[in-house]
């Protein structure tokens, strides 16, 4: 591991260590937060007992579906918009201000349309992720050297092949940035959706535990969520770096 990596690790450990101490000596009372070791222990026993398996799988399925949808649709829309500069000039300000709009207010509407099930959760997750992926696709394609597109034309590729065989891999390092953002946004939207209105899922369980003053369950699940998202984004981040240096041909 690099020196920066070690320092990062030390900071994280110090943070949790400080939290642990503050909880143990009573600076933070038990109703507000439990010590991190107890969170881990609570999570471990829940996993062993299988009491959260169903909810975890439900949220996981919804998140994966939402990410897949936003990545796919975001890439396809990105390629199309990139190929139509005039359309792009019209849409660009809309993309830029998208995340200023509280998209989440559409969730109750989606529930009204589709009912309390997985569909509104997947859709709201996808709505959160899609524009991040679209913008990353546009940025990625902008940075691809023009000579790559010229090569594609010399190989007589049709638009579909050119998108899949040249544009997708050329822009890959930037597309991973989009995937990373789509994962983060989709997790937030899916869990928040479950939190508000759902009969299953991690978010639902957290909300339930919260109202029940059940700190062990609540913090156990939060720890699981935090760890899962960190591991996924860190792996994508490392992959992104590897591709960037390979694509730069250094």
């Amino acid at each position: 591991m690099s020196k920066a990596g070690w320092i990062r690790l030390v900071i994280v450990i110090a943070f949790f260590g400080a939290l642990e101490i503050m909880c143990r000596i009573g600076w933070i009372d038990r109703l507000t937060m439990i010590p991190p070791t107890e969170m881990a222990e609570a999570l471990w026993s829940m996993l062993l007992a299988g009491s959260i398996t169903e909810d975890v799988l439900y949220s996981l399925r919804n998140t994966v579906a939402a990410v897949a949808l936003s990545v796919l649709a975001g890439f396809v829309c990105g390629v199309i918009v990139h190929a139509l500069p005039r359309l792009r000039r019209i849409l660009d300000p809309l993309f830029a201000s998208y995340y200023a709009v509280p998209v989440f207010v559409f969730y109750p509407l989606l529930v009204v349309i589709f009912g309390i099930n997985a569909t509104p959760l997947i859709l709201i997750g996808a709505m959160f992720g899609i524009v991040a992926m679209l913008i990353s696709t546009l940025t990625g394609l902008d940075r691809v050297p023009r000579v790559m597109f010229k090569s594609a034309r010399m190989f007589q590729l049709d638009p579909l092949r050119s998108a899949l065989l040249i544009k997708l891999p050329s822009a890959a390092p930037h597309l991973i940035t989009g995937v990373k953002l789509a994962v983060v946004y989709s997790v937030i939207a899916v869990v928040a959706g479950e939190f508000i209105l759902s009969s299953k899922g991690i978010g639902h369980r957290i909300a339930y535990a919260y109202n029940d003053f059940d700190s062990r369950t609540m913090y156990g699940l939060l720890l699981l969520l935090l760890t899962a998202v960190t591991v996924v984004t860190m792996s994508l981040h490392m992959w992104e770096h590897r591709l960037h240096s390979r694509w730069a041909k250094q």
């Binding site: 050297p145 790559m148 010229k150 034309r153 190989f155 092949r161 050329s170 041909k249």
Partner: protein, 284 residues
């Protein structure tokens, strides 16, 4: 400037006879190119009215000061860009902003695909055609041997030097056996010795395949050594000031650089280019 078709007819009568083609392989008439103004940049008159005929199987070199429109002309011949005015014909058919089948280009910039190994880079075009696996492997291996990349077949472009990457691009184009090969400064990233050797190999391929070659180069020596005809272009807007006939035999090699005639050809080219290059430098 239609000197080419007459002067080289005798030399290439063999191939032309075999193919029964009398019309030029590539024909440009009154071709101009103006890049329209974009935002704050004024329009650029890159190419003045240009006529050019390349007979089947000829080797044409293009030299001229930087920014005079050489790559622009190559893009137009390749069908990657449309001329503002004028017509371009390849094998008797008009090219209209769409690359015709049978034309291969090696670009000035590195265009190797970083996500593919050297072997797969070279095989890329063949995979798009219906060619059986064994034949494809044979052709890829042969062209890798020719470009001296056999030991790097499984390497990725990021692991190669700039010169080697350029050879990957050359191999990727040649493996498709194009009838018209357009090369934009293909040996720019190579050292002088490798340049000479690659030049010899290019001549051999040219003789064996009967392809027509148009090659842009910054090296006067390279142009004089390789080509039947050297087109010398003026500063922007580019046009041909003179098309020099070298008169080398078809089975020439780099050894002709020691001939007296070679020296007088390059000297003549320089006398034409000196003034134009100064103009181009001042224009910056």
């Amino acid at each position: 400037m239609n000197v080419l078709s007459q002067t080289s007819a005798a030399e290439h009568s063999l191939e032309e006879g075999a193919r029964g083609a009398k019309a030029p392989h590539v024909h440009l008439k009154g071709v101009t190119r103006i890049y329209p103004a974009v935002a704050n940049n004024p329009e650029v008159h890159a190419l003045a009215s240009t006529d050019l005929d390349l007979p089947q199987g000829s080797f044409f070199s293009l030299i001229g000061p930087s920014g005079c429109g050489k790559s622009t002309l190559l893009d137009i011949v390749a069908g990657l860009a449309s001329p503002t005015e004028g017509t371009v014909m390849f094998e008797g058919k008009r090219i209209e902003g769409r690359p015709p089948e049978g034309v291969g280009v090696v670009f000035q910039e590195d265009s190797s695909f970083p996500w593919l190994t050297v072997w797969n880079n070279v095989a890329f075009g063949l995979r798009r055609k219906r060619i059986d696996k064994a034949e494809m492997a044979k052709r890829v291996d042969a062209i890798l041997a020719f470009t001296g990349l056999s030991d790097f077949a499984q390497a990725y472009p990021a692991q190669l030097s700039g010169g080697m990457r350029q050879r990957v691009c050359i191999a990727r184009t040649l493996v498709l056996q194009p009838r018209l090969i357009l090369l934009d400064e293909p040996f720019g990233a190579l050292d002088q010795q490798t340049r000479l050797l690659m030049g010899d190999e290019l001549l051999r391929i040219w003789r064996e395949t009967g392809a027509t070659i148009m090659m842009i180069t910054h090296s006067l020596d390279e142009a004089a050594m390789l080509a039947d005809h050297v087109g010398v272009m003026s500063a922007r807007p580019g046009k041909f000031i003179e098309i020099i006939e070298t008169g080398w035999p078809r089975d020439r090699t780099s050894e002709i650089v020691s001939e007296a005639r070679f020296g007088s050809i390059t000297a003549h080219m320089w006398s034409l280019l000196r003034e134009e290059s100064q103009k181009a430098m001042k224009a910056r």
